[in-house]
């Protein structure tokens, strides 16, 4: 039941939208995203007929990646640092 499906908005009419995923099209309520500026083409996460959040692509998937990058940058900046790209 907690299955959220990423869908793309293809048409907005008022508080509802027609969304699509893998060729399947559904009527979705945007009632829970009324403060979010949404446009046709935006990907949203849909659960039981309601868009619960807009999806935004992210670079890092764990805070460890940021920690490690910061550490690597520090090492690269230090005179003895070497092989960091």
């Amino acid at each position: 039941m907690c299955l959220g499906i990423p869908m793309r908005i293809v048409e907005i009419h008022g508080v509802n939208a027609r969304c699509e995923a893998k060729g399947v099209s559904r009527e979705v309520s945007l009632f829970m995203l009324q403060d979010e500026p949404l446009q046709v083409g935006d990907p949203v996460l849909v659960h039981v007929g309601y868009a619960i959040q807009k999806m935004t692509p992210q670079e890092a998937r764990s805070t460890w990646e940021l920690f490690d990058r910061a550490l690597a940058a520090e090492e690269a900046a230090a005179p003895s640092g070497g092989e960091h790209v």
Binding site: C2, G4, S29, M32, V48, M55, T56, Q58, S62, E65
Partner: protein, 375 residues
């Protein structure tokens, strides 16, 4: 780095960690358990890592009395009973020859309809304004927020709600307070955090020193969360990680949370087979929405096991992560998805059903004669 790491990358990183002993990582979402089982993650991870399915199935903990109530109304109160499809096959405490589920009530002529969205419940009620319609809504925060949206938007007069909504974190709080949580790291539910915000899970790290990461439902996201909690565990550097940043933002979805606050109250609530957990349930804020105020209560007097799990069913301990599904004596023997004994074998989010569907078969019936120890 232009794209996020692949599942294979995360797996390699996990295998490179200097694990020294068993680490038990609990998830609290049926969706997580399904992704883990489908992708076969258990067989791909180092042997030290145990992935434990925990309290992640709202249908499994939905009070037996509520289901009985719904069946009772469907059969006697002249109502149309709508419910999420998962609820229809959950058996209650009744003799086998009697009606034990909403599905059987429907077969006996009751007007029971499965829905996939609260908007369908509204549509069904609007199409027949003369007929009372009861929406039996069980679910965790992710599902109850849309129910709140439905209420806030306005529902037809003939529609009322039997609400069995639950919050996920109080079950984890209960496990942690028990002194024997049964896990060393926690994977927090991605869609609950999408709605409620990841901050709800900060107490696990802060108060209980348990490494925690919010995860999504792809192998990449789950493996990232597993990696994150393991590394927190190994390095002793603990924080609440967010491995599902595409949709999990600080504060969650503020609009959804405002709708929940406006239409529902948080109350102490019973969990089937487990007991009452403080501040773990949603209750309707307005009496006018409450089906219990419109229709007569069901009688539980002739039902000695009311509220519990069916006889022999270990679902409550499965839900709490105390045992694995295949440790139940009935798993795969009398209990399969075709002939479910307990709710954990009915729901798509129940660990028993997920394991059985994923190919986990019951250990062969004991071939060792009684009294003889296995080598």
């Amino acid at each position: 780095m232009s794209a996020t790491r692949s599942a294979r990358d995360w797996l390699e990183r996990i295998h490179a960690l200097p694990l020294r002993g068993r680490v038990r990582i609990m998830n609290v979402c049926g969706g997580h358990e399904r992704s883990i089982t489908r992708a076969g993650l258990r067989t791909l991870l180092p042997a030290e890592i145990e992935l434990i399915p925990g309290p992640g199935c709202p249908v499994c903990v939905c009070p037996e009395e509520d289901i009985h109530q719904a069946i009772h109304w469907a059969l006697t109160a002249g109502v149309t009973l709508v419910a999420f499809g998962d609820m229809l096959r959950v058996p209650i405490d009744r003799p086998r020859r009697e009606i034990r589920s909403l599905e059987q009530a429907r077969a006996a002529g009751a007007d029971v309809r499965p829905v996939a969205s609260p908007t369908e419940a509204v549509r069904i009620a609007a199409a027949a304004p003369e007929r009372p319609v009861v929406f039996f809504a069980a679910g965790f925060e992710t599902t109850i927020a849309p129910v709140a949206a439905m209420l806030a938007e306005g529902i037809p007069d003939n529609l009322s709600v039997l609400l069995s909504g639950r919050l996920t974190w109080p079950a984890v709080a209960m496990l942690l307070a028990s002194g024997e949580p049964g896990f060393d790291c926690l994977i927090a539910p991605g869609h609950v955090a999408t709605v409620m915000g990841p901050e709800e899970w900060a107490f696990v790290v802060r108060e209980h020193r348990i490494p925690t990461a919010v995860a999504g439902f792809t192998p990449e996201s789950l493996l990232a969360a597993i990696y994150s909690t393991l590394r927190q565990h190994l390095e002793g550097r603990l924080f609440l990680d967010n491995c599902y940043p595409e949709v999990v933002r600080p504060g969650g979805n503020p609009e959804a949370r405002a709708l929940l606050r406006r239409t529902l109250e948080v109350v102490d609530a019973p969990w089937r087979g487990i007991g009452i957990l403080p501040a773990s349930g949603f209750a309707l804020a307005a009496h006018s929405w409450d089906a219990r105020r419109r229709h007569p209560p069901a009688d539980h007097r002739d039902r000695p096991r009311a509220g519990g799990m069916p006889a022999g069913c270990d679902c409550a301990r499965v839900v709490l992560g105390r045992i694995y599904p295949d440790a139940c004596k009935l798993y795969g023997r009398t209990c399969t998805p075709r002939t479910p004994v307990g709710p954990c074998m009915v729901s798509d989010e129940g660990a028993c059903r997920i394991w059985w569907t994923g190919g986990v078969r019951a250990p062969a019936p004991a071939e060792i004669p009684a009294g003889v120890q296995a080598p």
